[in-house]
Symmetry: C2
């Protein structure tokens, strides 16, 4: 498939211009791991590449990170050095990204620490079970078990879920399953570039192929991760691809964030429409020339501010 | 420039699938009119192509259309057959699209009638002056003159402005100029795929080149219309390209609508960000696989419902 050369805008941050400068290389021709052992080796190598960054965060004096378990699920509790009085009784639950396969273990804290620091919130990062050992619905079950346990401790109105990419889809899926079990709904959800359709359906899977510098194609790893996650449930299951879920009034307010170069732009706007057509309070933010998970850029700080503002509004702070 | 073949999604309406089926032809190699006479002939031919559609609307018993003038500006007042009691004192002002050059005269009513019928609102469609005879700021001055006159009759809180494409940019520009003159602000603005940057800046000018079936390229007519509209003011003037304007609290709430195949997707999301970064209440809706001005599709009805809902909310109906 051809890739399109997009000019780098001069009005975006210097950091973003530099990030976009190198040619995008797609993974479409990279052989995906085949066996369980190959997948585990793939994940191990991925985690190793993030280790220095994670160690720097862990050593920071700005947050404390406590590894523990809730309802049998491994979690890490991230507490910012300063936790304002009006946020002591609030809890954010993060379901990390990584294509339902990567970024577990110590690496699972990255998004959670970003939001904990930006918003001065306490965050529980869920180290949910993943393929190749644990396909769907293990991740949903783990997220739900943590949510259910927190309900007793905090109350639904003091809980918000958030996640990026696979973690965005998973945040929606956990909430849908909680609803279907009759549990009270959290205050709100923040879905950052949510992987709402594991099928290759959506304009941006095509338009941003070879354009998105971090998630450059569906071919290669992404489609293979979809397959080992969904397993027998298939891509059309509403808890696998929550764009196909039945939303109805009572589902919590959502914020959705993407960028014009995001491979999952269509996943994001399609989920926003699904929510709006069910009359759910859902706000959309699309950042010009930004890609899948641009949170370390100055534009990402703007996106995080929108998310924090949204949490504070729905927590009535 | 290469064009990208995008698959037609099966999840959009049948009407939209049929609209997208023919290959997109760009106007990039079409010679643009050069002289005043050539532009006037171009506009005349464009208007003639819409005439049967406009005549059908004019003959409809669902609306009455009265041509008159307000503050010296030609307008058409569109009144739906049923005007609910709680909307009698509300007025919508439409600034039509057409690249600041086309769709004036009898053709200017098309968007206004759509919203008048969908929302049962009375709409004043402004037939503002345009190039080649009247470049910027004539259009802004005409819109402002009508708004100023309506202020006395209705009060700012009962007025909303809306427009698509050039009319979206113009709605923002008129409001900015009103603000700078110290006039009270309207209740809200609806900006449908607003032409917020007349420069060729923005990812979607590239990504949707040859993809958008109705506005296929900046080259050809669009860039030339930008030039004859802006004239000496240039494309960076904040009332020509309102993405460059200074927004600040007090600017009215806005709804912005676009689609993933819209040549002006980036114009839309950039203006949304400009508003949000000034802390203006601004909501964004992006429709999957939809193009510039998809309002006649079933998805366009969904978009119009969002707009109507937004008007009713900000009119406190």
């Amino acid at each position: 498939m051809s890739t399109r050369k997009m000019p780098i805008p001069q009005h975006i941050s210097q950091e973003a211009q530099e990030f976009l400068a190198p040619a995008v290389t797609t993974t479409e021709n990279d052989p995906a791991p085949q066996s369980t052992e190959e997948w585990l080796a793939f994940v191990k190598a991925s985690n190793a590449s993030y280790a220095p960054f994670v160690e720097a965060i862990t050593d920071s004096t700005e947050v404390t990170i406590e590894k523990t378990s809730i309802a049998g699920v491994t979690v890490r509790i991230i507490t910012p050095k300063t936790l304002p009085d009006n946020k002591q009784d609030k809890i954010l639950v993060n379901l990390h990204g990584g294509g339902y396969v990567m970024l577990g273990g110590d690496q699972s804290i990255m998004e959670a620490v970003g939001i904990a620091l930006a918003g001065q919130f306490k965050v529980i990062s869920v180290d949910y079970r993943m393929p190749p050992l644990h396909p769907f619905p293990a991740a949903v079950d783990d997220g739900l078990a943590v949510y259910q346990s927190l309900l007793k401790e905090y109350g639904a109105e003091n809980i918000a879920l958030f996640g990026a990419s696979a973690g965005g889809g998973l945040s929606a899926a956990v909430t849908l399953k909680a609803r279907d079990q009759g549990l009270p709904m959290p205050a709100c959800l923040a879905l950052n570039t949510p992987w709402s359709d594991l099928n290759k359906i959506g304009d941006s899977y095509f338009s941003n192929h070879g354009v998105d510098p971090t998630l450059s194609s569906y071919e290669g790893w992404l489609g293979h991760m979809a397959a080992i996650y969904a397993g027998e449930a298939g891509f059309d299951h509403p808890l696998v691809s929550p764009v196909y879920a039945d939303y109805s009034p009572g589902f919590p307010p959502c914020i959705l964030i993407s960028g014009t170069r995001d491979l999952l732009l269509s996943c994001t706007v399609r989920l926003h429409r699904a929510l709006r057509e069910a009359n759910i309070d859902a706000e959309l933010h699309v950042f010009e020339a930004m890609w899948h998970g641009f949170m370390t850029m100055p534009e990402g700080q703007q996106a995080n501010l929108e998310t924090i503002h949204f949490f504070e509004k729905h927590f009535k702070l």
